[in-house]
Symmetry: C4
Subunit: 277 residues, 4 copies
């Protein structure tokens, strides 16, 4: 009997925390989202000189309240799921842990609470909360197009890197230290800055030959940018119609699997019952 | 009888102001366009030191003449339409109002007439005036491709923002205040400047680790730019043939609805007669 | 008889100068190309301090020799064609004239010979000389894709310009003169620099609000760049297979029309005989 | 008999060095890859002041050990292949030679060992070592899309160059030497920096007319970037399905030909037996 009640109690927490189908679940998610955003704003404000001194007490208390809430939420997430490890070692599990630890660490290590902005990653939860069929579908399509393009993009980035090492060394030899190209790593850095068309201008070639090579690098960068764009375009156009939408926010309380079919009654991963009240 | 004459008088003004099919309507639109462009040039000239002192009197009078014309035009637009509110609260209605108010406000608030450049938005009227089938069709296609891509672009921009918050904080921790990364918001700003490949160079990393992270951000930015391009490309290619052109410049004098079929005789929104003389 | 000989003489010059099918015509074109490139290099060298003083005499003579050759060539082009006006007022006719005049003008106006680099435009003749089927075909395809995209690109650029005027004025109001935004035209210029992701960094926002707006402009620019790319991509993909290649270098000696079919015997414009020896 | 043994001995070396199908061949390739990467890191470290002084002895010995290994490997490659010239004059043959010579040269010429980073090109061997079907396929597709786009890209780059020469000269005339546009080549360099949206900011226009022209160049650059992207997109999409994958790492020991079919037993180039043990 007690076992049964405990199970129900755990299932209810699971429903509130992990899902967004019930009013309580939705409310929880909205509160969580607001706290995440507030927390990021507070960490940012803390880094601003002048502002942080004026509002020192407020920011300190606010940080602690939010962190304690996040800690409770983390514990609740761990105990409300059957296989705790499937949550703890998941992407969100690690992010959730990392978003609470830094403040506790700040007792021992100075400046570690700047790491609190890792909480920004928690913002990704927003997509589940909004639960707008369209938006989740779009994110899925985007993710899949990117995933399909990954090997090509890696090959491309590798080629760009080799090119930057070669051209960077060449610029180091041509321009020398007095122009700001003080060693090969810095020259390679400059070459990446130039090839990607960022162009800070803190380092710039001054010799005619250096400027000629720089011009060649720029025109190459200008032409090369077409490659990833072409790849993603083609992949995206090919994927456009073939992806079935899955926008069910149900999460299996046993194995933490999500992305169930809209009308799923059992988890497609472990067969456990889904709670579609 | 008087009612009838008044109605005709209002309909004539409506035809001149809102439409571009008759010679009078075309002339009005061209005069309006020239005044809008002149007005923007005058506001710009006013802001240029030296020039504004030499031409002070001329600019002052010119501004007032144009503003009075715009005010009369605004009133004429309001009274010549049946449902005045449908114009007043429309996009152009608000722009038209905002383009007259600042100068009157300049009696009370210093510098408010710089806001007059909001008139630039009125330039968008040019598309209706030119009434070139092709151009309106192109604008429609572009607008529709952008509208269809909106959810994807929003998801994309959101991901970029989260990335910039994370990387910006990282750079703040790595580089510190002496390199110009004086607080997290500034670091996030720098990260946006770098990821979008703008690269002002007013802030630039100086430590080897900072330059390594910057290089990673740049290469990510270089690869990420492929995503919106791919999306718009695919949407645009998909829409290319499916959009019917609508280039009728008729505007219903009752409900202010435009975008009627070329051979429409009655407003498709309220059933009011369109004046196709 | 004399008339006939003269006609033949004119036709021969026409063949050598305007066409690239015969050995003499090819040789002429190659010599012309080399002279154009040399001429550009000499004008560039002249602008380099130190270099120009050392080589003053050489550069002066070289310039004059090339200019006299170009002048003779221009006269030969005019007299060897039936309807001289069809050449004189064509694109190449004007370029050819402009590439000779500046040096003669340099007797009267100082520095006018810097305009000699207009000769660079003559380099476009290279495509006819190379007469590589593939390259001409590619250039035609590119030109046609760009021509088809023109109305869209114009609408797009107009929208970008209106956006830059609005945002530039906003930045002028927010940042003010002490940050380098000294008047509205400069602010609009800065906005174009930022939106196109060039980012010189000579002017950069310093206030938090200014940096926020700048960040928005950059992200807009980053997203907006997708639009022209998408347009050209789609147009280019659509045109890819539908363009017949025309790589005949024959030019009608009567009306100066080119782009004849490969097996054309008569000018498709005026019916005059083409000389396909 | 001895002839036979020698042949077997040469074939074994060939198998280890040129192929990646056997455990010994794989091990050799991995060791080679690690040495290449280490060698590049050492050359980079050598260029960093302070670091190079502290670790002088270590870096010197490391460089020599790696170079001697590369030299032995080069000799082994030459003697283990039937037609030595087919390797010596191939792309990798030249790279392999260039990656050993600079250190020997450093006895005679100061600073020549900076050229050792040419070894980075050897990294391209990694694709053969990894032997991941997918990655090689992707690299082939990319290479082919780029190869197909080459004539178009050349035409495009040529047009960009002519544009930069014209606009650069114009800026030289408009801005003059006091703004940093000290001669035409520098102005052309600046124009390339601007058109490719790099924008270092070491040179920037200061006169209103110069800024207007710069704005036009930027917007052109912003629009022009669409062209190579569109080309590569279209080519890539067209090629997507038509390329058969070839991921056999076998290299003919007679003629050095690679890219054999997966089930090839004889070299498709010279008919020599392939060793598919």
């Amino acid at each position: 009997m007690t076992e049964n009640i405990k199970k129900n109690w755990r299932e209810k927490i699971h429903e509130i925390i992990y899902e967004a189908d019930t009013p309580a679940g939705k409310l929880f998610d909205v509160v969580l989202l607001i706290l995440i955003i507030l927390s990021i704003i507070f960490v940012m404000m803390e880094s601003v000189k002048g502002l942080s001194e004026k509002m020192y007490d407020f920011l300190l208390y606010a940080e602690w309240i939010i962190t304690i809430f996040f800690t409770i939420e983390y514990i609740a997430r761990v105990i409300s799921i059957k296989k705790a490890t499937s949550y703890i070692f998941s992407f969100y599990g690690i992010i959730d842990l990392l978003s609470t630890i830094p403040l506790y660490l700040s007792f021992f290590i100075l400046g570690s609470n700047a790491l609190l902005t890792v909480r920004a990653l928690r913002l990704l939860r927003v997509f589940r909360i909004l639960k707008i069929t369209r938006y989740i579908g779009e994110a899925n399509k985007l993710t899949r197009a990117l995933k399909d393009s990954r090997p090509k993009i890696l090959v491309f980035l590798f080629a760009v890197l080799v090119l930057c090492i070669i051209m960077g060394t060449l610029m180091y030899i041509v321009e020398g230290e007095e122009s700001g190209f003080k060693n090969i790593p810095v020259s390679v850095y400059w070459c990446i800055v130039t090839l990607t068309t960022v162009g800070f201008g803190d380092i710039a070639p001054v010799t005619p030959l250096g400027q000629l090579i720089a011009a060649i690098i720029m025109i190459m960068g200008y032409g090369i940018i077409a490659v990833p764009t072409g790849i993603v375009s083609a992949e995206y156009a090919a994927n456009k119609k073939t992806i079935p939408l899955r926008n069910n926010t149900q999460v299996c309380s046993n194995c933490n699997e999500d992305k169930h079919q809209n009308d799923a009654k059992y988890c497609h991963n472990c067969g456990y019952t889904l709670f579609n009240e």
